[in-house]
Symmetry: C3
Subunit: 421 residues, 3 copies
């Protein structure tokens, strides 16, 4: 099995953006683990209402204060440079400089994450505390970046199952050094894809999508939206899954997909704290997948919700994201997959009254059996009763207040006893 946390540690230092070599290096590290296909789309390409922008590649960037000391050095933390900064070299006063500095008064010690993809600007991000301590005088600014025609890079991979009906997982590869937002999702998708490649008998096909957020998802849909519209059963956007904060599940657009009920059932019986949210705008790429032209049912299972204290800042780092956090999320995702793969309508082959369970070694022969009974008996009887061709496994789980994961093993057992099909 892939070591997810190792992958996060490898991905963390890279400076990514919506285009450029950071994305390419990121996808290469993924490709070492799973056989994704990498695609390039030229700047200027039209994707629905959008145009692929020029490619951006930063090399070096810093400010020197009047005393000649480097501050806001890109080499130290790539969040210091405003994403998509144009090149600039020169000496300017503090007053002039302020118009190019971004800080977050609400989180005075963190460097905020900021970008200007669609308007040409240069700028630096720094902690509000540092901003307040700047002395008057002349500052030297050095930004060595290129922003010129090139391409947007993304990757995908299809794990074929028995049916063309597919489930997709989408993550984004465009954030610089933040650990939870963006790369925890990339790492989890990589591990999940590896699991599915090794799992036998997949019923659904699985599509994994690694794209820059928004523009990448839009570009991906411009190229693959028709096929996805035909085949997609449901999907998930995967991000913010590496911390140890409670789970937050954002439902699909309809809120009524079996996926929603399965995720909620598994969370409910997981012992983990969690909250469930109806679909809402804005959000991440579920916005594009769920747009009215596509209406792909896309859920979003996160931990630390976007908007929480560490979000979009230097505080979203390898202290915040833990091995325990990411592996716990992986396990929940894996159980969701297993449940979706087992969520069919089964048929009780002995539908008239209950079968004589003692005969099948499914029942204790001693004891007055009315009413009382173990949780095990409850689950077996519930499976038999509701397997009438009208109830799916998640229906049975809900009706019997059981975890769907527990029922999967019993379905197998009852099939072996020839009681279920």
């Amino acid at each position: 099995m892939i070591d997810i946390y190792d992958l996060i540690e490898e991905l963390f230092p890279i400076c990514r953006s919506i285009t450029g070599d950071g994305v390419r290096r990121t996808l290469e590290l993924v490709k070492k683990r799973i056989p994704i296909q990498i695609h390039e789309v030229k700047s200027g390409t039209q994707c629905f209402d959008w145009t692929i922008p020029d490619e951006w590649n930063p090399r070096e960037a810093w400010i020197k204060d009047p005393a000649g000391k480097k501050i806001a050095d890109f080499a130290e933390n790539n969040l210091h440079l405003l994403g998509y900064s144009i090149p600039f070299k020169g000496k300017i006063s503090l007053d002039e400089l302020r118009g190019h500095l971004y800080s977050d008064p609400g989180r005075p010690d963190a460097i905020p994450y900021n970008t200007s993809y669609y308007e040409r600007r240069w700028g630096f991000c720094l902690s509000h505390r540092q901003l307040g301590s700047l002395a008057p005088g002349e500052y030297e600014v050095y930004i060595d970046t290129t922003l010129e025609p090139g391409s947007l890079t993304y990757a995908d991979m299809l794990v074929k199952g028995k049916t063309e009906k597919e489930i997709f997982f989408s993550c984004y590869v465009c954030h610089p050094s933040m650990a939870d937002d963006s790369i925890s999702g990339v790492a989890l998708c990589t591990a999940l894809c590896d699991y599915l490649l090794k799992r036998s008998g997949n019923y659904y096909s699985y599509r994994f999508i690694f794209v820059p957020e928004t523009i990448g998802a839009i570009c991906y849909l411009a190229r693959n939206g028709g096929e996805m519209k035909r085949n997609v059963y449901c999907g998930m956007t995967v991000t913010c899954v590496g911390d140890e904060v409670e789970f937050n599940y954002k439902r699909t657009r309809s809120g009524k997909h079996a996926l929603d009920r399965i995720v909620e059932n598994i969370l409910k019986h997981s012992g983990e704290k969690y909250k469930v949210h109806d679909f809402f705008l804005p959000g991440s790429d579920e916005r594009q997948y769920s747009s009215p032209g596509f209406k792909l049912e896309t859920g979003s299972l996160m931990r630390s919700f976007y908007g929480l204290p560490n979000y979009h800042s230097s505080a979203d780092n390898l202290d915040f994201v833990t091995r325990r956090g990411i592996e716990g999320s992986y396990e929940i995702y894996r159980r969701i997959l297993e449940a979706v793969e087992a969520d069919f309508k089964y048929l009780n082959k002995m539908p008239y009254c209950e079968p004589f369970l003692s005969k099948y070694k499914l029942y204790d022969t001693l004891g007055a059996q009315v009413g009382s009974g173990s949780d095990y008996k409850k689950k077996i009887l519930s499976l038999l009763n509701y397997s009438d061709g009208e109830h799916s496994l998640i229906d049975v789980a809900e009706k019997s207040s059981s975890c769907i994961s527990d029922l999967i093993a019993l379905v197998k057992l009852l099939k072996e006893k020839n009681l279920l099909e």
Copy 2:
């Protein structure tokens, strides 16, 4: 704009009943503001299971106590005379008199409101405290009223819109000097009608109905019920809207009309305290409009609910009803109207992914836009996402936890940008 509170002050002193000159004077004051049509229906006319009663006109009424002092003088407060009292002159003992006196022990200082429309009686209403202070002896009673064939008076008015589909507002004009019950509704309907007459581009037609309660509404439906059954989209009975007590909304009979959801959405985002009640019997004229033969979907947005302390007594006066109260109610009604007029299913003209909003100056170009975002952005994205031809504006408001009133302006903006139709 009509001064609603002035109209209430003018209407307050008039002694109204279900027939008679009080109703006529009331409707004349309304007609000074809006061009209503006034109708007369002869006593004895059959309306479904009911018969229009004789017309009642009171002129003078009082009791003189053994010391010759006038008590319960109609000239002082018209609630003193039992509604529909027959004429009577004579001297009677206190014991005999008691059989004709009505008081309310639960509200010892208030004169209760009481009537005897369908059984011939005479009587006086007085405060329970006054009743208790009456000395033994001979009392002189003087009631100068007429109760004889005449007619029942009502008025209506149709403000034509683009469609024959209509929304009606019904108020009642039959209560003597009480300010909240009955005349606050008359005044609000007058102002609302005036607003609609001046508003351009009304989609719906609007019917305003000014009738004596119960018998008047039944008479109105006997004459106009067929047409209303064909055309009515929904309606409201308007009463008890002049005080400053919390809002109370009584839902339509089905409880599922868009009107219900719009009223509740606007109340929820209004900052006002309010309660919502399922349709119930009894009530006011929504009983007749919602009877099984008509089933007109009729909601009822009130403030002080019928049954509250001041209800049906001399305490329902111009101290209880305030300018602030009636104008606040008017504003809520106006916003309901605007929302019903805008509650259509819109169509996103760029349904594949989100449009490139920066192009339309609808988006800030700076900042990492994932997840975060203003309430404004949330509303625009929600409107675009849910405008798929399946969701009406109230659906979008509910799904995005927005006030429908706020969405109306954005619909206009997105239409101008050619993003919505």
Copy 3:
């Protein structure tokens, strides 16, 4: 009327099991009250996946301790003998004996109820306290039972109504001396059947089923399931109805039958404490009636829920079951029956506006009638408004927050006035 508590007292001492003379004596006592039909089914008969077991008849059973003192004497309390114990005579050590003794550490003073229907064993049940006090030494065991081919005994009875559509009541006759579990249900069914035999104009047919639990119900369905599947409107399993603990209603499998709503409506307005539970597995014979091959909608109205402290032990005795408890349950069942018999969709014969109720002496002529009004008026107006051919009586009850039992009398009154049909 049958004295239900007398019947419970007569039934209590009998040692019943799933077969044998105890069942026959029980059914004979019922047959003295109502004309049930008693049936015998031979051992070895196949019923779906089950086989009728050999017939068991206990005569005498005891253990003598090393001092020669009888303990766990069947003659003293028939719960002492493990149900379906095979015969045994011999002297054995305490250690060997322990393997045949059953107690319940959670209820140290009670003799637990235990059986071994489908595996041949012998054993005794005794209080955990008594078990702990046994001295080492040689014990003499004496069990005089027969377990040999015979038959299973059950009874039923059909009270024919105007339609073949039927409602069934099922109780079980297989528990030894416990008062609430099993025989309170037998007694209540007997009284209910007697009530229906004397009631005139039954719309539904009523089936009463007296069977050993599980195997008896399965055997009954093997013989009558086809007919029941055709005719059954709904049914109830009746047990644990003699104590004074709060009511517990377990819904039908669908949870949406009118029976569910009627039971809940009557409980809600009864002033009794109660809880409502969705259908769940396991339980009693509703498991068989609700199996996917039959899907008979079967509710279960109990008091002390299975699983409570006294359940399946010697504490479930004539102290726990009271005259007040069983008669209270009977009254609730009777009212449920009356409501199901009256739960039709009525038609307001004067659907345009309200009728002029004063004319029918249904209305007070004095008083301003808007809004205020008695509970009586509310019920009459609600009945008239909702009797539009779309709402059944339970719909009206729910919509007007009335007890359906109260509406039944008003339906009769309005029919007499020719206002309803």
